[in-house]
Symmetry: C2
DNA sequence: TTGCAATTCAAACACTTGTATGAAACTATC
DNA sequence: GATAGTTTCATACAAGTGTTTGAATTGCAA
């Protein structure tokens, strides 16, 4: 079982280096140097560089999706099987934003890795992201229950815009900070979540404007994967 | 002046290949093969691979920004120096969306190149994008004139969200099409622009909900640059 | 035509990349 | 303590990368 130490060391080193310097700039030799293991260990434990990256991303991605679904389930239970639209959107964007922004998560390797993955989008990560559709459909279903009259297309657009605002905020937080010269507070994650949710609700309702809040957790460290996917 | 033929051939070949296969997958040898020129020609005419990419992106980016500012100027003139907020947002997101989406631009190399640049974000392109701040400030200024009472932070968030929705739509149009199983019409660009503008206006006004339209042009082919930047 | 600069070309350079190999070291079971 | 399976290691491999070189070729002006 000492192999687990090597495996974990590689995962940790890779996540750190990718978070710091991006996928294009980090070689396997950099990773094994950081992890203090042999070069061949990566291929021995993961098969290839791409599979290493995939496992890294799947782990974090699974954690976020789990949080999302938990929050959604909680909201639906509280509403007796029908969650209000703002709670649904909160469950959708809250975990992502909370996982990547905020002063506590700021220095976190996991957060910076997910930000990097959101910016660079290398092939193994893109492959995984493409399978997220089923996961999102669960939110569409909940939205349909919350707004029975609405056209499906409007629901899709609403979900799409909600993801747009949260991902773009993560991707471009530096630029927004610079553009606004600090006037946009990117450390107040709750306020950002509320803002994204409130705009998304407006997009869906066509301009009436409610918006409350809902709970959310943070990400967990790496557990070993059974080569499952998203 | 036969050098210009080589230069142009390289630019055209590079844009096509990058658009088709992405930056990570295309080598200089691929480009010179497509362009039917010698390998050394790239470094002779552009200095380096990165400078070639930069010139490619700057050309298209400049064209979009020119369109944006034209539309903004037109809207402000029509309003006597004070354009309505929806016209400002239309000027901001219209050229970008129209340049990348729509059935006519669909097969366009320029459009596909810009989509690729929006997805992959390679270092020379990121460097250029980082200088877009000054350009965006002009829209902030116009928005400030249109909504004198509003907090600056709200204006920045509104502009940020408008860009979020348009860029995310460009980046993830495939996914949205698949998720919605064709129910979101990604060929009706005008409708998309209106939708993005209308949501952005709601985000800025807090839920009253107007939204009209404004004009826009298409991109031009490559002219020679004088090594200027954005 | 001559001369000179700009351009093209084939070839090589210098280096990095992910991956494979096969022997050595380790670990746990009998 | 011998054996079988797992893990580590140094090293080599094969291929591909952007860039440079220096000689040919071209185009244009005097």
């Amino acid at each position: 079982m000492s192999s687990d130490r090597t495996r974990s060391a590689i995962l940790a080193a890779a996540e750190k280096l990718y978070a710091d310097r991006g996928f294009g700039d980090v070689t396997l030799r950099d990773i094994v140097a950081e992890a203090n293991v042999n070069l061949a260990a990566v291929n021995y434990h993961f098969g290839s560089k791409d599979e290493l990256i995939a496992e890294l991303f799947v782990t974090r991605s699974l954690a976020t999706n789990r949080e999302r679904l938990n929050a959604l389930k909680l909201a639906e239970e509280k509403g007796g099987g029908r969650a209000p639209i703002d709670a649904i959107l909160h469950a959708l964007v809250g975990p992502t934003l909370r996982g990547c922004l905020g002063p506590d998560r700021e220095g976190s390797t996991a957060a910076r890795f997910m930000i990097r993955a959101s910016i660079e989008s290398v092939p193994p990560i893109r492959r995984i992201k493409n399978r997220e559709v089923d996961h999102l459909r669960k939110f569409i279903a909940a939205m349909r229950r919350a707004m029975p009259g609405r056209d499906d297309a409007d629901l899709y657009w609403g979900l799409h815009f909600a993801l747009a605002m949260s991902h773009h905020t993560i991707r471009e937080k530096e630029r927004l900070a610079r553009l606004s010269e600090g006037q946009c507070d990117l450390n107040d994650v709750d306020a950002i979540v509320d803002r994204v949710v409130s705009v998304s609700v407006m997009a869906l309702t066509g301009g009436e404007a409610p918006a409350r809040k809902a709970p959310s957790k943070v990400a967990a460290p790496h557990g070993r994967l059974t080569r499952q996917d998203l």
